[in-house]
Amino acid sequence: MNLDDLVGRRVLVVEDDPLIAATQKMVLESAGCTVLGPDSGVGAALRTIGAHRIDLALLDVNLGDEAAFPVADALAARGVPFVFLTGYGSETLPSMHRNRPCLTKPCEDDDLLAALCDALRRKPQHRVEQRS
């Protein structure tokens, strides 16, 4: 697997738990990414999306009292690839995000990076789908 694609990418991390967010930030930065956030809630994440160019995103589905789907919608609208991370099964995803890559916590660093890499590669294909 070639993780070079991730180098220099600006990655938004949305995760409510500070420890997990810190861990993810560490992993992504060690892979050469620039981490935006991490944001713990939908409002903060949307503000970040509005303010920055984003190449990739890692979304925790369950953000305490709220779900990350509005963030996912905003990302999809901008054509930004992203990967879900959840403690539940993937069946809790709404239908329009059912095909997104989804990792189950806890996950290995390699799996996380591979999924992000994969999402990045699928990006053009995704755009076509969205237009159609």
């Binding site: 409510d16 738990d17 420890l19 997990i20």
Partner: protein, 1018 residues
């Protein structure tokens, strides 16, 4: 039955609707000919048998059979008539109608049609093998139109003969040169015989018509040559009558003889002239047969009545001696061909089409009363306005005709009309009837003609040849004329005055010179001699006549005095029986004068002189008184006689009315019978349905009782219709609660929206589902409200079912719980992994790192412990702080102080605060206040409320600890605090390394639901 006769056979039977007939199979076993149910549009082929299938009628048209479906609701009552009628029209003289055993009168009208068109008619005779149900052939025979009445086994031979002769007829009719002269001669000979015997001349009729009838008779008699038939005619007078009837055959179709009925139509207004509403117009249709003529007249009358503002009642007495024909007339049901002469407007107005038949409407039917009546035997009707007697007189013969016409004259009211058939006439009674329309045989009663009416005509009356009616006997011319003249002169001049009377005293002959004894009585002319007798003569005449009538002897009365003007004439009265040629007893009365007339004085003197005796005078006075008494008695007797006569007339008319009532009741009875039959059928159907309903009801009942699903049926007003036993667990229902509104019943269920939901079902017609619980929350139900659809699909209530879904709900809860647990475990493991990596990255020495990591894990474990105690509910901030600080709490000298209001934290916030406090405690224990004896920690918090968003400000203050040294670099512990407060709680942290002690200030928002209560101390 031979198979090669060359005829085609159609078998029409009466079948019950829906009945599957085995008839083709049965016939097939009896004959070599192919047998099959006939199909629509079959072309009829010789030597085949066609059987009518059930629920159909058949007609024929250009040699093809037409099949008509009938439904059970609209049954055909007379399929045989319908087929015969169409067959007659289609095949003419090549048609043969055979009426076999059967009940009812079907076939009779059809036979008429076949006969009219020259076909052959046969009825099953009762010779040898009786028909099992004789009424159908008997009805046909009674119509007088059946050529052959033979037992069923002889019919094939007759048919074969018929088939052979069909070609002969064609030959005769063709009148080929060789035959022409012979046939014409024969025809004229036959016409001659008919004219001699009946007085009707048919020589002017179309030869083909007459020859056809002759041929048909020859066929019936099985004679081969026309000459042999003429021979038969000469010998057999009955055969003449039969041929005569055949030739004349006037089947009474509706409006047959269009012109005659038009003539009748012209006089109808005259029947109604000056008639008030309570004076009925009475019509007598004598010899009405199957009723066509009666209904035709009814139709014309009805049409005229509709033009009148006030129409009097109309009674049509239609009579015939043939009871079975009357039955047909009463039913008023005719095959379509019989109504062919009717205009479509009339047909539509007065007839109802029923299958291939037409039925008269009530408007016609109610005018006609059909009753059995013989114009020869039974007393006639009276006060009739119109008598229609068409084509009946010709059957009666001249003798009976002569009796019937005066009878009609009697029956008619003054000015009444008589309507006869085209070949009939009243010429022998021109004194009784005046022609109105000579060509169409409409006559009017001559008013003042008086006739003695023989109410009953003895059947042994000798035949009279003379053309003159009445009882006068034509004088026999005999002897030399001189002698006759002398005798006449003597009679006229010298014979005493005399009259000839019958036994009732009606004068049949007057001699010359009776004026002295008789004078015309006041009032209508009368032939009663007693009314005409002069004073003094009447009682003597009566007693003398009575004596002669009784004794059959001559009676003589002397010393009779008749008062002529003011004089008295003594005379001798002689009455003696006079045997007339007619056999009717007559009496001759002679008035013989005794001396000249006397004046009153002379009379008295004569009395005195002849017999001066006082005794005699006394006796005479008594006698004269007695006479007066007798006179008044006689007058009283005459009055009662008159009264009796009028009573009798009333009785006759009452009898007529009773007859018509009876007839109406008979019709009603027939109708009732058919209604009864229908009701029986309907009843048995209903019984079946009731049984089916019972079964369905039982099924439902068992279903209700066995089902575990609580169900209640409500109507539009929420009233309980029924419910299943399981429902009693939900609503406190007892069986008596049916009919009460459901909302009145106490419920074990927490379902306040029930009423709105039911309303929603009524509004939307859509089912509603809702989860609800029992009042104690232990049982969960799925309530389902369904629209109850009535028979027409209209909403007629609501069905409410409650399904116990407790297990499902529990299962769902377990599933959610398991998922949540799963999620938390995963999340926690992820946190632990992160914690391990971050801790170990920050602390390179593995032993120290492990120690810190384990200590942090324990802190987390304590927090989780707190949470699990609260079932992952909310945890108090105080407990979260206390659980980390408690190991340092010294009982003797409190080093730790915790104060602040009660705040409940969410699990997430509690975990974050716990980790922060843990780091602060760890640092304090390592470098700060808790590392020295005498150091203490003071934790205090407060809640601020800025425009609805609550925030907590927690102050951590250390005192009397080791000297404060700010760390050279920000360690992971500090990072952890900042992350937890900043990222985890969304707040901010402010850490101050003041000289008197470390200080941290946490400021973070609380959830809007967070409960804050007053301060508590530790």
């Amino acid at each position: 039955m031979p198979a090669d006769v060359g005829l085609a056979y159609v078998v029409v039977t009466h079948l019950g609707p829906g009945h599957t007939s085995m008839l083709p199979e049965i016939i097939d076993r009896q004959t070599a000919m192919p047998v099959a149910h006939l199909r629509d549009d079959d072309e009829v082929a010789a030597n085949r048998v066609y059987v009518l299938p059930p629920d159909t009628t058949v007609t024929t048209e250009n040699g093809r059979l037409r099949l008509h479906r009938t439904s059970a609701a609209q049954r055909e009552y007379n399929p045989i008539d319908i087929f015969f009628a169409s067959l007659a029209e289609d095949r003419g003289e090549r048609a043969v109608g055979i009426v076999l055993s059967g009940s009812g009168r079907d076939g009779t009208l059809g036979i008429k049609m076949i006969k009219e068109h020259g076909g052959l008619t046969i009825a099953q005779g009762s010779d040898g093998s009786h028909p099992r149900y004789p009424s159908m052939p008997e009805s046909a025979i009674a119509s007088g139109l059946v050529d052959l009445v033979v037992p069923v086994e002889h019919i094939p031979a007759k048919l074969a003969n018929f088939a052979r002769n069909l070609d002969d007829l064609a030959e005769i009719l063709s009148e080929s040169d060789r035959q022409a002269e012979r046939v014409t001669t024969a025809r004229l000979t036959v016409c001659q015989i008919l004219r001699n015997e009946t007085g009707h001349d048919f020589s002017g009729y179309k030869p083909a018509t007459v020859l056809r009838r002759i041929h048909r008779r020859m066929e019936v008699l099985q004679l081969d040559t026309i000459e042999s038939y003429i021979e038969r005619l000469r010998r057999d007078r009955d055969e003449v009558v039969r041929l005569f009837q055949d030739v004349l055959i006037g089947v009474t179709r509706f409006f047959r003889d269009q012109q005659a009925f038009e003539a009748l139509q012209r006089i109808i207004p005259r029947l109604f002239e000056g008639r008030s509403a309570d004076e009925p117009v009475r019509v007598w249709v004598a010899g009405c047969s199957t009723g066509e003529e009666a209904y035709t007249i009814a139709l014309l009358l009805r049409e005229h009545m509709e033009t009148l503002r006030v129409a009097p009642r109309v009674q049509i007495f239609a009579t015939d001696i043939d009871e079975s024909a009357l039955e047909i007339a009463r039913s008023g049901r005719y095959p379509a061909p019989l109504l062919r002469d009717l205009s479509p407007e009339r047909l539509a107005r007065f007839f109802i089409k029923d299958g291939e038949s037409y039925v008269t409407t009530k408007a016609l039917r109610e005018l006609c009363a059909f009753s059995a009546h013989s114009i020869i035997r039974d007393p006639p009707f009276s006060r009739i306005d119109l008598i229609s007697c068409r084509n009946l007189l010709i059957y009666l013969g001249p003798e009976l005709q002569k009796r019937v016409l005066p009878l009609f004259h009697y029956a008619l009211r003054p000015g009444g009309f008589l309507f006869l058939g085209t070949s009939e006439t009243v010429s022998q009674h021109a004194d009784l009837f005046a022609p109105v329309d000579k060509a169409q045989r409409v006559f009017q009663k001559r008013e003042y003609a008086r006739m003695r009416v023989p109410f009953t005509v003895p059947t042994n009356v000798p035949r009279r040849v003379s053309a003159a009616g009445g009882t006068t006997v034509a004088p026999q011319a005999g002897g030399p004329p001189l002698r006759a003249a002398v005798e006449a002169r003597v009679l006229e001049r010298f014979a005493p005055a005399h009259v000839l009377v019958n036994r009732e005293g009606e004068v049949v002959h007057y001699s010359a010179g009776t004026g002295k004894y008789l004078e015309p009585a006041a009032g209508a002319p009368s032939r009663q001699i007693f009314a005409a007798a002069r004073r003094g003569l009447r009682s003597e005449l009566r007693s003398a006549l009575n004596e002669s009538v009784q004794t059959r002897q001559r009676t003589v009365r002397d010393n009779v005095v008749v008062e002529v003007d003011d004089r008295s004439q003594p005379l001798q009265l002689v009455v003696e029986p006079f045997e007339s040629a007619g056999g009717d007893a007559l009496f001759l009365m002679l008035f013989i004068d005794r001396g000249p007339p006397l004046s009153p004085d002379e009379t008295a003197a004569a009395r005195r002189s002849s017999d001066g005796n006082r005794t005699v005078e006394q006796l005479e006075r008594e006698l004269s008184e007695t006479r007066d008494r007798l006179q008044s008695t006689i007058e009283a007797y005459e009055t009662s006689l008159e009264e009796l006569k009028s009573s009798q007339e009333e009785m006759v008319s009452m009898n007529e009315e009773l007859q018509s009532t009876n007839e109406e009741m008979e019709t009603s009875k027939e109708e009732l019978q058919s209604i009864n039959e229908e009701l029986q059928t309907v009843n048995s159907e209903l019984n079946l349905k009731v049984d089916a309903l019972d079964r369905a009801n039982n099924d439902l009942k068992n279903l209700f009782e066995s089902t575990q699903i609580a169900t209640v049926f409500l109507d539009n007003e929420l009233v309980i219709r029924s419910f299943t036993p399981a429902m009693t667990a939900i609503f406190k229902l007892i069986p008596g609660d049916k009919g009460r509104p459901l909302t009145d019943i106490a419920a074990n269920i927490d379902y306040p929206e029930l009423r709105q939901d039911i309303q929603a079902v009524f509004d939307t017609h859509q089912p509603v589902e809702r989860r609800c619980q029992s009042q104690d929350g232990t049982i969960h139900y799925l309530a389902r409200l369904l629209p109850y659809r009535g028979a027409e699909g209209a909403l007629d209530g609501v069905i409410v079912t409650f399904i116990d879904v407790t297990k499902v709900v529990r299962g769902e809860e377990f599933k959610t719980l398991a998922e949540e647990l799963n999620h938390r475990v995963r999340n926690m493991l992820t946190v632990v992994v992160g914690l391990a990596r971050l801790t170990l990255t920050d602390t390179p020495d593995p032993r120290a790192g492990t120690k810190i990591f384990v200590s942090r894990l324990h802190a987390m474990a304590r927090a989780y412990n707190l949470l699990s105690k609260k079932d992952w509910g909310e945890v108090e901030l105080h407990d979260v702080v206390d659980v980390e600080l408690s190991p340092y709490a010294d009982a003797e000298r409190p080093r730790v102080m915790i104060e602040g209001p009660t705040i409940r934290l969410t699990p997430k916030a509690a975990l974050a605060v716990n980790l922060v406090v843990h780091e602060l405690v760890t640092n304090a224990a390592k470098y700060g206040a808790l590392s020295q004896v005498g150091g203490d920690v003071h934790v205090a918090w407060s809640v601020t409320d800025e425009s609805g968003s609550k925030r907590v400000v927690l102050d951590w203050r250390e005192r009397n600890g080791a000297p404060v040294v700010a760390p050279k670099r920000k360690g992971f512990g500090t990072q952890l605090i900042e992350q937890q407060v900043g990222h985890g709680l969304g707040g901010k942290v402010d850490m101050t390394y003041a000289p008197d002690g470390f200080r941290a200030r946490l400021d973070f928002p609380l959830g809007p639901k967070t409960v804050v209560s007053k301060a508590r101390d530790s």
